[in-house]
Each structure stands twice: as structure tokens, then as C-alpha cells.
């Protein structure tokens, strides 16, 4: 399933949830968004609920989500109009109405971008859930071929992320570990594999939000021993990605300050970023965790493993009790073995 289609599905679940609450508890729903209970409020909310369920049914069952996403966009415009009217009626709770209005504006944006995305794919004749975001023969991602995506890229450029950590090892040691690009997946959780093709070029395989997988080739653009490494994805990659890491001696003999700056365009653009944020896979958080793991590996020899996390950042954690026999820990932990 492509990214845009995954998002369409997520929107389907959103519609399902909203629709059910509007149909079953219209009064509470109106209260939540700050609209006073008038004679016609309940009926209106129920009608909107029915519309949401229709959209949900379409988005979750249809092979072509595009018309249903556009149904959502139409619904959004209707909701915006209604909320706009509610905002000017002074017997409603204005704070709540404004909140609902702001939320709806955001959702409308997601719907429009998603609509452009899924429609674009169908226009290219490769929509309908085949492929899984991986590169095709041209190195272009299926997910990256939507018109929506192209609009997103023009409108929203990749935003650089900067993170730093201090590691109690010399710049030379940290540089040497990083420069061996095969080491990166040991501490970068979203990377499955990096293969060095030659001195400068490498092939990267990563997991993307919501269980997808992306691959690209990268080349080293600057390499100053013990000091700095820069790289970027090659021109025709599915994922636009560039990064620089600098290794600076830390004051007071505390080892090395590792400063990372990354710019990358996730497969679904800003929508992808929004979803990644919700699922805790937002790049900024990820890079910060990656650097922590790098520190753990270089300072202690492996990633720290607790029962709740099994060594990975997880939003939904298992309880802090011993693992079941079949459960395993993350890669990067120091190799297991009893003496």
C-alpha cells in the first residue's frame, strides 16, 4: 500500500470514529465543540455523522479512495461554513468553537493534500494499493509519484533538524565508527541496512512510518577525517535526504560533541510528518534517540535494554515485567549469551 493510500485509510478510521460519536452522542459532541443545544442541533450533528460514516465506508472498503477523500473535502468545507456561523453566534462557547474551527482547518489541509495524492497516483495509472513505497526500477518511489507530493515538495521544503550529544570518546573514535556506514543501523532505529558500494556511494534501506520501507542510494559529499562527514541521496532517489555530522572536541576532556544536521523529505511530505508525529516517529525525536543509542554503544558497548522497551523507543510500552520466552530485544544490544 502506498503512503497516500495509507493516509486515506487513516482518514477512513478518523471518519468512522467521528461519525459514530456524532450519531450516537450528538449532544455531547455539540457540547465538546462548544455549540449550544438548540432544537435542530441534534439532527444536524446526526446528519453530519451519517456523512462521515459514508466517507468511512468508502475509504476503508473501496479500492480507489480518491472520490471518498474528495467527499471528505466537501464535508470539511460544509463544516467550516457551519462552524463559521457558530463562531458568530454569541451564545456558543467561543473558545471551544474556535478550537474546533482550527482543528477543521488542519484536517481540511490534510484531506486536500491526500486527495491530490491519491488522485495523482490514479492519474499515473499505478494507484490501488500495489507496491509498498519501495523504489521501482527507476529509483523513484511509487508513493512519490503523486501530483499531491509534487505540490507538497514545492510548498513545503524539507526542514533541517539539528541535534547534538556529547560522547565520552575521542573525535577520532566517534568519526571512525560513523564513517563505517554499516554501523549506522546499529543505532539508527529506522535504518535496516546500509551497504557501502564504494568509497563514496552507499545503498540505504529504511523503515518508514506505518510499517513501510524505503530504499535509496547516497553519496558522501565531504569527508574530513576525525572532523566531519556530509552525505546526500543521489539525484533520482525516492527519499530526498542530506546530512552532516561534525565531531568537535568537548571542553573539559569530556570526549566529543557530535552535531548532526539532517534534511530529509519523508515519503508523504508534510502529511507524513504529521502522521509520524502522532505515531512518535517524527524525525527530530528519532534522531535524538539515535544519538542516545550511539552514545550507549560507544560508551558502554551496547544499547541499554529494559523490559518495558526491549531497547527501543516505544510510545505504547509493554509492562515492566520479564519477557515472554518468544519476545526478543532490539538489535544493538550487546550480544546475548550466558557464561
Amino acid at each position: 500500500m502506498s503512503n497516500d493510500q495509507t493516509i486515506a485509510r487513516s482518514l477512513g478510521y478518523l471518519s468512522l470514529g467521528l461519525g459514530l460519536s456524532q450519531l450516537l452522542a450528538p449532544r455531547q459532541f455539540a457540547q465538546t465543540i462548544g455549540v449550544r443545544d438548540r432544537s435542530d442541533t441534534t439532527t444536524l450533528v446526526r446528519l453530519i455523522g451519517a456523512r462521515e460514516l459514508l466517507a468511512a465506508a468508502g475509504l476503508l472498503t473501496s479500492r480507489n479512495p480518491a472520490p471518498w477523500v474528495w467527499l471528505r473535502v466537501g464535508g470539511d468545507l460544509m463544516d467550516l461554513a457551519l462552524l463559521g456561523r457558530a463562531a458568530s453566534a454569541n451564545d456558543n462557547e467561543q473558545d471551544r468553537v474556535s478550537g474546533a474551527l482550527a482543528g477543521t482547518v488542519g484536517i481540511t489541509a490534510v484531506d486536500v493534500l491526500s486527495g491530490l495524492g491519491v488522485s495523482g497516483q490514479n492519474g499515473n495509472g499505478n494507484g490501488n494499493g500495489h507496491g509498498h513505497g519501495a523504489s521501482n526500477g527507476n529509483g523513484r518511489s511509487v508513493a512519490g509519484s503523486g501530483i499531491g507530493e509534487r505540490i507538497q515538495e514545492t510548498v513545503f521544503g524539507g526542514k533541517p533538524v539539528r541535534k547534538s550529544i556529547t560522547i565520552g570518546r575521542s573525535p577520532g573514535e566517534v568519526y571512525a565508527y560513523w564513517r563505517q556506514l554499516e554501523n549506522l543501523p546499529r543505532f539508527m532505529r529506522h535504518l535496516e541496512e546500509v551497504d557501502e558500494l564504494d568509497e563514496r556511494r552507499s545503498h540505504w534501506v529504511a523503515t518508514a512510518p506505518m510499517g513501510m520501507r524505503v530504499e535509496w542510494d547516497a553519496e558522501i559529499t565531504n569527508d574530513i577525517e576525525d572532523t566531519e562527514i556530509s552525505w546526500r541521496s543521489v539525484a533520482d532517489s525516492a527519499v530526498r535526504h542530506e546530512g552532516t555530522v561534525r565531531f568537535v572536541p568537548a571542553p573539559g576532556g569530556r570526549g566529543t560533541e557530535v552535531h548532526v544536521e539532517l534534511t530529509y523529505q519523508p515519503p508523504a511530505g508534510p502529511v507524513g510528518v504529521a502522521i509520524a508525529k502522532l505515531t512518535g516517529e517524527e524525525p527530530e525525536q528519532q534522531i535524538s534517540e539515535d544519538l542516545r543509542r550511539l552514545k550507549q554503544v560507544l560508551e558502554t558497548g551496547g544499547v541499554a535494554v529494559s523490559e518495558a522497551t526491549r531497547g527501543e523507543r516505544r510510545l505504547r510500552q509493554r509492562p515492566a515485567q520479564p519477557l515472554e520466552p518468544g519476545e526478543s530485544v532490539t538489535r544493538g544490544a550487546s550480544p546475548v549469551g550466558a557464561r
Binding site: 525525536q285 544499547v303 541499554a304 535494554v305 529494559s306 527501543e312 515485567q321 550480544p335
Partner: protein, 389 residues
Amino acid sequence: MKANVWTGKNSVEVLDVPDPRILDSRDVIVDVTSAAICGSDLHLLHGFVPTMQKGDVMGHEFMGRVVEVGSDVQTLKTGDRVVVPFPISCGSCWSCQQGLYAVCENTNPNSWMAEKFFGHSTAGVYGYSHLTGGYAGGQAEYVRAPFADANALKIPEGLTDEQVLFLGDILPTGYMGAEMCDIQPGEVVAVWGAGPVGQFAMLSAYLLGAERVIGIDRYEYRLALAREHVGAETINYEQQDVLETLRELTGGRGPDKVIDAVGMEAHSPRPDYAYDRVKQMMKIETDRPFALREAIMAVRSGGVVSVIGVYGGLVDKFPMGSVMNRGLTIRSGQCHVQRYMQPLLDRIQAGEIDPTFIISHRLPLAEAPHGYELFRNKLDNCEKVVLSA
């Protein structure tokens, strides 16, 4: 195996959970012989520490015998008898090298959570919410001890469990509370809270040269323990005005150094107690800092406020004006246990400290929930519960 498990706010149960196994080559598995219930376990029980999850195994005070050893463990072998400190130290990072083990930079896999709550991360801790890593605790038949070389303290034969069990947390915690006071000859030290940590703080204040030690609590049996076993003077805050009495006892100066061994769930007979209680219930503040406020107001100008009672988040109506204008020093911290274990073990072996006087109840692990009941409701003169597994 059996383990004492948090099953929701105000509820712990002894349940069957999988046996722990080695997950990392630096782990050992400890067959727990004794574990204790800590005052801070009550904060978890009451749901005042965020990020607890149903099914979490409780317990950060425990000891036992090593029964399995990871391939990279250098200093321990099967059969060794060990006390394991509650904060997990990696032994390698800058903080560990400075002796700041409780803020180890590498052992908390949930450092991102801790950073959100505290700005920077703290070390991993056994059985102490997911904020400190989500490590399974030691109120269980067995426990996995990570980074074992950097943490476990080998116990020589000839000492009982009860003599050494408290080396893993409350004895060093009380000691550090007194040490942070930088006690000078002739000084008076007041300690809020006569629970186990408060008792050890009072004891340590004497060891470190205090002229007089004053303990403050509302339970007469706890104050009696402080008088009889530690030799402290006492104030019952339900019967006496604390500030007034302390001024009287110190010729108007106030105690030179004060220790808060109470923390976030303080009680008080005064009306501001209700104010804090309500705000805490409404989650507007997470901690009720009543003892801390009083300690700040009580200490002499230029004195030290040592905070070893546990706080979780935000406090309200903090008398910063008193701190600033009177030149007070606040020192605090989760105990850097690894720093104190060996020297305190030496003192126990030399007969200078006998920590067993605080034990009021001995129960089998299966009765852990009953132990929590006794301890939280201060039933049957409960001071400290030791569980044997």
C-alpha cells in the same frame, strides 16, 4: 515466578509472570532472598508518579544470590551474594565517572520521557515507572540486573540479609541527606519525616558530627524510635507548632541544616494542606511540598536545605523569597547509592551501624500487598516491611 505487580492505582497483587532471562551480555539474574517496600513505592501505589503501567513489577530494594551470569560480566559469578543499588549505573559515562550514578546518561531507555518531565534524563531504576526506563523490579522471586559489574555489591558471608539489605537504597539515601548538609561541629540538624529514610538521615547526621538532631513526624511510634534508637529529640507536628518549637529549641536561630525526608505526599494539620491536596487531586500541581516549605522557613539564614524526599514534578507556593533573601543552599538528589555502599558496608561490618532497628514487619513475598496496606496506613506501628522470597 511470583512477583508483586502494580495492577492500577492503589492496587498491587502477587501474580505469576515469566522468569527473567539474560537480555544483554552484561546482565546477571539474581535469585532474590530479601526485598523491601520503600516509601517511594507508596507514591507509585497512589498513582502520583506518572508513566506507571498495569503489569509493572514493583521493587527497587532487593538482594539475593547470582544464579546466571552474562558472557561479558567480569566481576561476578554464580553463587555470589549481592545487594543491588536502585539506580542502574553504566559505570562508563561522564556522570558515573563523577560519582553521579543516579543520573547515569546511558541506562534509561526512556530518557526521552524523562527529558520531557525533567529537562534532562535520569538513570534507569528498577520497578519505578516507565519514566526511569521500565525495568522490572525486585519484589519478585528473580530479577534481571543489567550492567551488573558496575552495580552489584558483593556481600561477605557472616552478615544477615537484614543487616545489609538497606545498602541498596535507604541507608545510603539517609546518609547522603546528612552528607549534603556539610555538618560542622556544634550544628543542629532537623529532619522532617521519621520513616525509614528519616531515621537513617538522623543517624547519619550524628555520625557526621551533628551536635543535636531533631526529628519531626506525627506518628508517636516513629518519634519514639528516633528518640530511643537514634538519640534524636522529636517534635510531633500535630501537637506542636513546628516553626515555633524549632525556634525555641535553637535559641531563636533555627536549625543550621534541615533535611526533607518526606517528599511529595506531605501531610499537615494546617489549612494550606487542604489547598495542596485539592490542587494535587486536580492535577494542577503534582506534589504537595508542605514539609519542604516548612523546612525552608525553619532553617537559619545561610543554612542548607537537603532534599531526599521524592518529588515527581511541580510544586506550588514555593518560598523562593526566603531561599534567596536569606542565602539558603538547596541540595538534593536521588541517592548516588554506588558511592556509599562499600563505606557503609564497612561500617556495618565494624558494628558502627546496625540498620535492622527500623524493621517492624517481616512477611513472605506472597503477602506483599498486605505489607503495602500496613505501610501506607501506618497500621500496627509499621515502620519498614521486609519481604522474603
